[in-house]
C-alpha cells in the first residue's frame, strides 16, 4: 500500500464522515437535553429531499440548503411537540418521524417531478463544488506534505469544513457557556434547573432546534454535496450509524469527531477492498460493514470504559405544582 492509496482512503473517510459528524452532533444536543432522537435518519432524509428539490428548481444550492434545514427543523418541531409539550414517548415519536420521512419524500418527489421518486440530477450552481484551497496545486510536488495538503485537506465541499468546525463550536457551546450548562443540566436533573427559575421546556426546545439545523446540514450534504440529486431512502441507515457513533463517543463532542472519522474510515476501506486478508485470514466485506455496530455494542457492554447516557434522557418533564 503506497502513500497515495492511504491518502485516497483517508480522503474518502473524511467525505463519508461528514454527514455522520453533523448527525451525531445533532443527536448530541438533543440527547444531552434529555430528548432521545431515533429520528435522525428521517430528518436527514427530508432535508436531503427538499434541499435537492429546491436546489434543482431554484438553481441555487444555497437556497436548497436553507430549504433542507427548514424541512429538518419542521420535523424536529414535530418531535418536540410530541415529546416535550405532549410528553409522548420519545422513541415512538422518533420512529414515526422515520416512517413519515421515508414515505413522504417519495410521494412528494413523485408528484413534483414524476421521475419515480427522484429529483432531477443537479448540475452547476445547484450543487456544492469542491473548494481548492490556495496553493493546493503549487504544493503537490513537495513530498509527503504536498499530497496531504492538496489531496486530503484541499478539494472538499464547504460543508466538510463546516462540519469540522462544528465540533469545537459544539464543545464550546456545551461546556463553556451558561446556555450549555443549562442544556446539560436539563438532561441530567431538570428539577434543579426548574428550581433555579430556568424553563425546562424552553431549553429543551432550543436543543431540539439546534438538532434540527445540524440534521438539515447533514441531509443537504448527502444530496447536494456527496451526490447530485435525491433518490428514495438515500440516507441508507446513516442516521443509525450516527446514533451508534454518538454512543461510541459517550456523548462527547471531540470523541464524536474521532468516532465518525473511524466509522468513515471503516466504510472507505470496505469500499476500496472487497475482502481483506490479514495473516491468511480473509475478512469478508460484510465484517467491515458490521464493525461500527459491533464496536458500539462492545462500548455499551462496558468493556472499554463506561457509556452513561444523560440521566433524565427519555423522560418527559412534568412541572410540579
Amino acid at each position: 500500500m503506497d502513500l497515495l492509496t492511504i491518502i485516497q482512503i483517508l480522503d474518502s473517510s473524511i467525505r463519508l464522515a461528514t454527514p455522520l459528524i453533523f448527525a451525531a452532533l445533532a443527536g448530541l444536543f438533543s440527547e444531552r437535553a434529555g430528548i432521545f432522537d431515533i429520528g435522525l435518519e428521517g430528518k436527514m432524509l427530508v432535508s436531503a429531499f427538499l434541499a435537492a428539490a429546491v436546489a434543482s428548481t431554484s438553481g441555487s444550492v444555497w437556497v436548497g440548503l436553507l430549504a433542507g434545514v427548514f424541512a429538518s427543523l419542521l420535523f424536529s418541531g414535530i418531535h418536540g411537540v410530541a415529546s416535550i409539550t405532549f410528553r409522548g414517548n420519545q422513541l415512538i415519536s422518533g420512529v414515526a418521524i422515520n416512517f413519515l420521512a421515508a414515505g413522504m419524500t417519495v410521494l412528494v418527489a413523485q408528484s413534483w417531478f414524476a421521475q419515480g421518486g427522484r429529483t432531477p440530477s443537479l448540475s452547476g450552481a445547484s450543487r456544492f463544488d469542491p473548494i481548492i484551497l490556495p496553493f493546493a496545486n503549487e504544493l503537490t510536488r513537495i513530498p509527503l506534505i504536498g499530497p496531504i495538503y492538496s489531496e486530503l485537506i484541499s478539494g472538499h465541499t464547504i460543508l466538510v469544513y463546516i462540519a469540522i468546525l462544528a465540533v469545537p463550536s459544539a464543545w464550546w457551546l456545551l461546556f463553556k457557556t451558561t446556555f450549555g450548562l443549562r442544556l446539560r443540566a436539563v438532561g441530567e436533573n431538570p428539577e434543579a434547573l426548574d428550581t433555579a427559575g430556568v424553563s425546562v421546556i424552553k431549553t429543551r426546545y432550543v436543543a431540539i432546534l439546534i438538532c434540527g439545523i445540524l440534521c438539515g446540514l447533514s441531509g443537504a450534504y448527502l444530496s447536494t454535496g456527496l451526490s447530485a440529486g435525491f433518490v428514495k431512502d438515500m440516507s441508507a441507515g446513516r442516521g443509525y450509524i450516527a446514533l451508534a457513533a454518538l454512543i461510541f463517543a459517550k456523548w462527547r463532542p471531540w470523541y464524536i469527531l474521532t468516532a465518525c472519522i473511524l466509522f468513515g474510515l471503516l466504510e472507505a476501506i470496505s469500499n476500496r477492498y472487497q475482502n481483506i486478508e490479514i495473516l491468511e485470514i480473509t475478512l469478508p466485506v460484510q465484517f467491515m460493514q458490521t464493525l461500527p455496530y459491533l464496536l458500539t455494542v462492545i462500548i455499551l457492554a462496558g468493556f472499554i470504559g463506561k457509556a452513561v447516557p444523560p440521566k433524565a434522557g427519555g423522560q418527559p418533564y412534568t412541572k410540579e405544582r
Binding site: S121, M234, N271, V285
Partner: protein, 328 residues
C-alpha cells in the same frame, strides 16, 4: 371507504366490459410507472401496443407489497386476459393465484413460475453485459474497468459475470474491479455509496464503469461524469443522463416482453420464454448522446460477436446456471 367503493364499482363495470373484449392488464412493481427504468419500460411497451392496435388495457400501480395478490385476483375476476406482471416479486402470489384461474393467461417478467397458464419471461442479461463489456474494454485507455453492482444477489452476479467475460474477450490482460454496494435492499438506493465506490475504482485506474445497481447507479454515473471518465447505464437507455459521458447502456427490453404478451392476447403461449440477443431482448444502446464515443470499428466488432452468440458459436456463461463465474 369512498375510495374502496369507487374501486369496487370500477372493477365491477370493468368485469362487464372484460367478458366481452378480454382486455389485457398490466401490474407495475413498487418502483412506480415512471421510474425511468424497469417499470417505465413496461409502460412503454403497453402504450406501443395500444397505439398500434387501437385496443385498451387495464393497469395498476402497486402502493404496497400486500396488494400483489389482491390486484392479481381483481384483474382475473374481471376477466382481463392476459395479465402481465413486471417484477420477480410477483412469483409467490402468482403461484397461488394462477391455480385458481386456469382459463386466464399470466405473464411474469424476470422470474419463473411453473404453472400451465403462466409465461415466464427471463432475460439473458449476461449476453447484453458481455457486449457492453467488450465495448468498455475497447474504450478503455488504462486497461482497467470497473463494475458496481447493487445488492449482492445471483442476478447481479450474472450481470457482472457476463461483463467480465466480454472485457476479457477483447483484452485478456484487462483488470476488472468489482464492487457490490451491499447485501440489503438499501443497496439499490444509495447513490452516495455508489459515488464513493466509483471514486475508489477511478483512483485504482478504472476509466469505464458499468453500473447495475438501480438508484445507486445514479451516483455511479454522476461520479464518472464528474471525473470525466465513461460509464455504462443499465435496463433502460440512460445515455441521456450525462450526454457524451455515458458510453452506452445495457438495454433490457421489458417493453418488448409486454408488447409481445399483449399482442398474443388470450392465445398467449405459456411456459419458459427467454429474451436474449437473438430475440432482441437485450442489447446495447446507440443514440445521439453517445455517437461521439462509439466508432464504427466498435460496432462492427460487437455485431460480429453478437452474431456468433446468436448462432451459438460463442456461449456466454450464465452465473445463475451454476452460481459460479469462470472469469474474474
Amino acid at each position: 371507504m369512498k375510495l374502496k367503493m369507487l374501486l369496487t364499482s370500477t372493477f365491477f363495470s370493468l368485469g362487464l366490459i372484460g367478458s366481452a373484449f378480454a382486455e389485457p392488464a398490466i401490474i407495475y412493481d413498487l418502483g412506480g410507472k415512471f421510474d425511468k427504468s424497469f417499470n417505465e419500460s413496461a409502460f412503454t411497451g403497453a402504450e406501443k401496443w395500444k397505439k398500434e392496435n387501437g385496443g385498451t388495457y387495464r393497469e395498476f400501480e402497486l402502493q404496497s407489497d400486500a396488494q400483489r395478490e389482491q390486484a392479481l385476483r381483481r384483474f382475473a375476476e374481471a376477466g382481463n386476459n392476459p395479465i402481465v406482471m413486471a417484477g420477480f416479486m410477483f412469483a409467490t402470489p402468482l403461484a397461488e393465484v394462477a391455480k385458481d384461474y386456469p382459463d386466464t393467461k399470466f405473464a411474469i417478467i424476470d422470474m419463473v413460475v411453473d404453472s400451465p397458464n403462466v409465461r415466464s419471461v427471463v432475460f439473458n442479461e449476461h449476453e447484453g453485459s458481455y457486449l457492453v463489456g467488450m465495448m468498455a474494454a475497447m474504450a478503455s485507455k488504462t486497461g482497467t474497468v470497473g463494475f458496481v453492482g447493487g445488492m449482492d444477489i445471483p442476478l447481479i452476479r450474472k450481470f457482472a459475470c457476463g461483463y467480465v467475460q466480454g472485457v476479457k474477450a477483447v483484452n485478456s490482460n484487462a483488470k476488472i474491479i468489482q464492487n457490490m454496494t451491499g447485501t440489503t435492499p438499501a443497496a439499490w438506493n444509495d447513490p452516495v455509496k455508489g459515488t464513493e465506490l466509483t471514486k475508489a475504482q477511478i483512483s485504482q485506474g478504472a476509466d469505464v464503469v458499468y453500473a447495475a445497481a438501480g438508484g445507486t447507479g445514479v451516483g455511479v454515473l454522476q461520479a464518472a461524469a464528474d471525473a470525466d471518465i465513461l460509464s455504462i447505464g443499465v435496463d433502460a437507455n440512460q445515455n441521456y443522463m450525462h450526454p457524451g459521458k455515458v458510453l452506452t447502456s445495457m438495454l433490457k427490453r421489458v417493453d418488448l416482453a409486454v408488447y409481445n404478451a399483449f399482442s398474443e392476447g388470450a392465445s398467449l403461449t405459456t411456459g419458459f420464454n427467454v429474451m436474449g440477443l437473438a430475440e432482441d431482448g437485450v442489447g446495447y444502446a446507440l443514440d445521439e448522446h453517445n455517437e461521439s464515443l462509439v466508432n464504427a470499428k466498435m460496432i462492427s466488432a460487437l455485431e460480429a460477436e453478437k452474431a456468433k452468440i446468436v448462432s451459438g458459436q460463442i456461449k456466454v456463461h450464465d452465473y445463475m446456471s451454476d452460481n459460479s463465474c469462470p472469469a474474474n
